[in-house]
Symmetry: C2
Subunit: 494 residues, 2 copies
Amino acid sequence: MHLDETSGTPFYQQVFDHFRAGIEAGAYPAGSKLPSIRGLAADQKCSRNTIEAAYQLLVQEGFAVSRPGSGYFICDISLLQATPQGRTAAPRADMRPRTRAAASSAQVASDAALADNAAHGAPTSHAPAPATYDFTYGNLQTGTFPAASWRAITDDVLLSVERSAADTYTDPCGEYELRHEIAWRLGALRSIECTPEQVVVQGGTQSSLQNLLALFDVARDAVAMEDPGYDGVRAAIERAHFRVLPCRVMEGADAFLADVRASGARLAYVTPSSQFPTSGSMALETRRSLLSWANETDAYILEDDYCRDFRYKERPVPPLRSIDERGRVVYMGTFSKSLSPALRMNYLVLPPELLERWRTAFAGSYPAVPWLSQVVLGRFMSSGQWDRHLRRVQARNRRKYDALTEALRTCMGERVEVMENGTGLHLLVNVRDGRPQEELVTLAREAGVLVYETNKYWMQRDHALKSCVLVGFSAIAEKDIEPGIQALAQAWFG
Amino acid sequence: MHLDETSGTPFYQQVFDHFRAGIEAGAYPAGSKLPSIRGLAADQKCSRNTIEAAYQLLVQEGFAVSRPGSGYFICDISLLQATPQGRTAAPRADMRPRTRAAASSAQVASDAALADNAAHGAPTSHAPAPATYDFTYGNLQTGTFPAASWRAITDDVLLSVERSAADTYTDPCGEYELRHEIAWRLGALRSIECTPEQVVVQGGTQSSLQNLLALFDVARDAVAMEDPGYDGVRAAIERAHFRVLPCRVMEGADAFLADVRASGARLAYVTPSSQFPTSGSMALETRRSLLSWANETDAYILEDDYCRDFRYKERPVPPLRSIDERGRVVYMGTFSKSLSPALRMNYLVLPPELLERWRTAFAGSYPAVPWLSQVVLGRFMSSGQWDRHLRRVQARNRRKYDALTEALRTCMGERVEVMENGTGLHLLVNVRDGRPQEELVTLAREAGVLVYETNKYWMQRDHALKSCVLVGFSAIAEKDIEPGIQALAQAWFG
């Protein structure tokens, strides 16, 4: 390396360019260590800051990772260059290949290489074969987030006098405009009558629950929860130190209601419009019985309506909240399935009595979500862009649901039982030959298909469905669904 | 009103313009009700959507509020037009007078007017006399938030391939680049050696504490806390259902340490570099004793270093975390005092053992802060803009500290005792004549000066300083400090 004072290029950029070229040419294999900052600065007769800046740039651009105390190590850049199907591409043509997926994959690969180095003493590259078809649940299809609109509205807000709100502590319950937009749509689209004041903007399902539990008595109150159910909610309840009592959902409404009644719980967490993970819809009669239980025992129901926007068949049963006459239901909705899981925004609609308790408990607290996100989302909604966006996402998910159910029928037929309920962003697929789900997941992965185990959703593990795997369609592209299921059928049934 | 089809102006805009002109001309007094959407749409032979859109625009622009079930009501726009000193101005010349302060003030005023209407049957305007000098603590001076840089970086991120991260669930501990920037500066500037992995990005002091307490045993572990201390932290501990044990800070180090030792707590919350609210600095010897207590009792210390950036006199004592050899200290820092309280971002640095527990407890959870905020802040830091920004804010706060202490000396002399410690964003002022703080705050407010009561910071209320008020300088403009204190002296001492 020779630093050229006359080139007009800053030294740190020259150092960065030198290493980048070397890495791309293969001169620095993945896992190998960069020279120490001190040593290289002495060699090059430049300041350590110069080298540090160059190394930081290498890290930022995904060429290296820093391991404090050890130094800087070269990443496996083949991952930055690969563009497998069904995954986030990180095009090298773009000068900013810092996608999170690429960076973290690179880091994982690098960590693996480093661990291997420690064991074998030689730098080697260990890029796992990238999955071709990822039927994950949760993440959205790349490009779902309306980045251009978000950018335009953010610009607009930060150029207006509104930006002065950034210098203040804002309303702990959320920005009024956003709450108004939410409340208005709940009334118009879901028959949920509420005021904007009852809507509390929150930073995700788990933290909402954590906050809600502040209003209950940890020593006395327990939480009833569907079993199987969302493991993230169970973890959040346990982190808040409350007892969780499982209520069976797969053995009929009577068993479920009996478990709820026997629980003695003061709060029941349910997903009536699309039970997670079975996707079933709670019958109207069961809803009424559950409300009666709450009325009679002075308990509350947390209705997580996370998937209301995604129903593909019959007209949905009305939300519990819409038939709740005595203020026993806390309604919860989210933007993670339709807008962005990375924005961390959901909301609670509190009944009057809990709203009072909430206001007292959180009187000296601050918003759960940044002011800017709230204002931008509020304007995205009030301008009508939200409604158009949602329709597009709904239409796409409907096509993917149809493609997935059709592919499963065609490729697997009677060899599997598919829990089809015309709702949700995934299907549970039960393989009839009784192989354990771990084996099914492994066989699939070896064929480049990612499907997921379901054991963790059961609190009572002995009730879990042995051969049941989760096949999600929120993230995978429509065109990849059929070939993905074909590959899966091949892996499972030959 | 006459809707003109030929004007080229959309109908909803014409409806909006009509009402805006009327409101500004005083034809629709504050508190009066707008015509019903249905009725007006029928009158004007246009769709209800048109009227709804116009009314929503009136709400957005601060001219009206919606009261679901009742209709739309005119706001008191005198608050939108007023531009008192030391407060956020909402210039009418700008077509977007939607500052939060203005909107919510307008709403409060409107609510008051509506309540009054209900009682007296006539619309009246109730604008409270605006304070001229607000010595609040917490909010920052208008214009502190670097909106232009934030906007430019946000643009950049949302135009790059990075934006695809918005479609995914990201690292629950935070974005690596931001954690790296924080860790690097902690090492360089505060002698705190930590890895980026130990830095966990969080959404504010209160929710950090709530999360941290998930790692403790609610049935057994109590939390020791300085008394007086930050009431928001006390509330957060109580919301998590843990016992809080007060430890006296104004009766010397021995009393404090005796209280800590007697508490039996497993976690102690302290603010060693600027005790809140007294602004005192914990002596090195006391820090060592506190660490010994933690080592001996297997307890942890949460060091809230919220005000490290703002020291105006001697070189600061090193953070507890920097002399902690056995991993007993959780270090907490914030961006609320230097960048924006509305962004809701702070961080914890966890010692190895707690980091392990954290990773287990939060394995299936999600980030506390939106991905976008984290990425933008990370880039703001890595580009060097953060360091320049911080220097500017520090210089301004130093000037304000000097102006405030000088004004208090000049205008009040020996009639008050000022707790000056060369740090923080407020001063405690103890009036020697013994009048109760409630009276002092009321006298000040009547003279257009806002200072604040301090009682709430004491758990043991009988220890509170009867005549002590809080005078903050983070939000007020430098030029307003001297006249504000003159007005305060006049109000208190004539």
